[in-house]
């Protein structure tokens, strides 16, 4: 089942008096339940706008849109009520870029409880969800800490726990690793993959090719249009096409492309470091066997 379905969607921001800035043009895409989809695109290509549309943050005041958008089987139309929007939004969590600007409360535990509290969930149930969510992201021991004392990666995991506690089906990550150091990025990516294994649908907006390579499918945006779509294998096999839209391929992919050109017997070029290691091991075993 398609949990997010977008047909011929265009969107323009309103800028002052009736001036329109077209940002998204004729987008067609869908995300299946339980799928892990990455969205790539250079700065200003419209990734955040797409995420905000899916999450219904952008209203008629902020811009104009045409086309069709349906979320969790419900078609979003102009006459959707406020209550319906809230009802839908609880199914779509969103983790933002800056970890500091999405933590609301003065302790970790109370921040994770913020979402469920807003949903009016009974106290015992909130307690349970908070404990489980903190367990899921491995932050249980920091339950009573003040958020500003945590590292960037830890803060981002708290933010993720806050979303998990609302038990959404889809979680959108809008460059959630962009402000973290390599260690923090690894922590967060690990959490994202685990969430996907637990059955959550993931929409990962990122600038890092190696993160996108972990997804089931990649959508490449360029100037508000879908430029390319496919598995990481398909997308990264054409490095030239990616460079044309100011993107790159993961380092492993580049390395093995060069090795293949140099004459090594490689069929499928790997896109993840793990895949590369596996391939390299096999190559050595073949060599040793001969």
């Amino acid at each position: 089942m398609d949990i997010i379905k977008i047909k011929d969607l265009s969107f323009s921001y309103k800028d002052g008096e009736d001036k329109l800035i077209p940002v998204l043009k004729n987008i067609d895409m869908s995300v299946k339940e339980g799928e892990f989809v990455a969205v790539l695109g250079h700065n200003g290509s419209g990734k955040s706008t797409l995420a905000k549309l899916i999450n219904m943050i952008l209203t008629e005041e902020s811009g104009e849109f045409t086309g069709e958008l349906s979320v969790c089987g419900k078609i979003i139309t102009d006459d959707i009520t406020e209550d319906e929007i809230y009802e839908l939004r609880r199914h779509i969590g969103m983790v933002h870029q800056n970890p500091d600007n999405q933590i609301v409360a003065t302790t970790v535990e109370e921040d994770v409880a913020f979402g469920p509290e807003n949903l009016g969930i009974p106290r015992e149930e909130i307690r349970k969800r908070v404990d489980e969510a903190l367990e899921d992201v491995g932050m249980t021991e920091y339950m009573h800490h003040a958020p500003h004392r945590l590292s960037g990666g830890q803060k981002q995991r708290v933010a993720i726990a806050g979303i998990i506690a609302m038990q959404p089906e889809v979680i959108i990550f809008d460059e959630s690793t962009a402000m973290l150091d390599p260690h923090g990025r690894r922590e967060v990516m690990k959490t994202i993959k685990e969430l996907n294994k637990l059955g959550k649908t993931i929409l990962l907006i990122t600038h890092y090719m190696d993160e996108a390579a972990e997804a089931d499918r990649i959508i490449v945006l360029n100037d508000g249009e879908i430029y390319k779509e496919g598995t990481p294998q398909e997308i990264f096999s054409d490095a030239e096409a990616l460079r044309r839209v100011r993107l790159d391929v993961p380092q492993v992919t580049e390395l093995f492309t060069l090795l293949k050109e140099a004459g090594l017997p490689i069929q499928n070029i790997p896109t993840t470091t793990d895949g590369g290691a596996e391939l390299l091991k096999n190559l050595f075993v073949q060599k040793g066997g001969r």
Partner: protein, 275 residues
């Protein structure tokens, strides 16, 4: 140096006072303030001082901390004492120098005023700032203000604003520090020159800070909407405030103190006891 600024001075602990319901603590603090202002005889001051000592003992807050807490009010303390001493012209003349005359009543009143201010600061900080976390305090304020909801006032919004402010004060201090370092690296001099020059040097801090905080507020509100925030209506809470028997006992003790202070006043003024 900027990192020294700590918000409130909460010392986490597990004493009876720490655990008391914040609403009750606010009420008790108000009663204590009443008692301190009602006190007029030396015996009642001595009695209130004893209460403060007891508070220190129960809360396990170091007496040094309480003394240090007096620092910001020292000026007011001595200023009011000074005024009392030199402006009171009743009682017996004790000393005279140039235009200054010191009378016994003036000394007595100055002493009482100093006691009053010191007791006020010590008892409220022991009851509230030292032993109540900022978040509990806002919850307490929200709880006490909740009857105003019937008058159409939005107490939830107020409490939410307070707690967000508290959440972001450390973040904003950190940011100020960063901007200051960045401007220093560009040669801005914050520490020399006259008042106006220094004030001008602050502009390159406040402008970027303001811009950054506006962006932050925008992102935060977006994040809150994403987490289904829609005001206080229909909202539940992870931690609900509850009045326990412990709180009731504290309140009764406090009312008892007020009654004793008033009795002491009546005894001294109406029956002319010397204290």
């Amino acid at each position: 140096m900027i990192n020294d600024i700590t918000l409130g001075q909460y010392f986490p602990g597990d004493s009876v006072i720490h655990r008391a319901d914040p609403r009750m603590k606010l009420i008790i603090a108000f009663i204590m303030i009443g008692a301190v202002f009602a006190a007029s005889s030396l015996i009642s001051f001595a009695f209130l001082a004893l209460v403060v000592v007891l508070l220190i003992f129960i809360s396990k807050i170091s007496p040094l901390v309480v003394l240090k807490g007096m620092k910001p009010v020292l000026f007011i303390l001595f200023f009011t004492a000074f005024i009392q001493v030199f402006l009171t012209r009743t009682g017996t003349l004790i000393a005279e120098w140039w235009i200054f005359k010191i009378y016994s009543d003036g000394l007595m009143m100055a002493f009482k005023m100093m006691c009053r201010i010191a007791l006020l600061v010590a008892s409220t900080s022991l009851l509230l700032s030292y032993t109540t976390s900022p978040i509990a305090l806002t919850d307490g304020i929200e709880g006490l203000l909740s009857p105003l909801k019937k008058l159409g006032l939005n107490t939830h919004d107020f409490a939410m604003m307070m707690s967000i402010a508290m959440r972001f004060i450390p973040t904003i201090i950190e940011e100020t520090d960063k901007i200051m370092s960045a401007q220093k690296a560009r040669g801005t001099d914050f520490s020399s020159g006259g008042l106006i020059k220094r004030a001008k040097a602050m502009i390159p801090i406040f402008v970027p800070l303001l811009a950054s905080e506006i962006r932050r507020a925008d992102e935060l509100s977006c994040a809150m909407i994403c987490r289904c925030y829609r005001g206080g209506e229909g909202r539940t809470k992870l931690k609900e405030l509850k009045i326990t028997s412990n709180d009731v006992i504290l309140l009764l003790v406090c009312i008892g103190i007020l009654a004793l202070v008033i009795t002491a006043n009546i005894l001294t003024t109406h029956f002319g006891l010397p204290i």
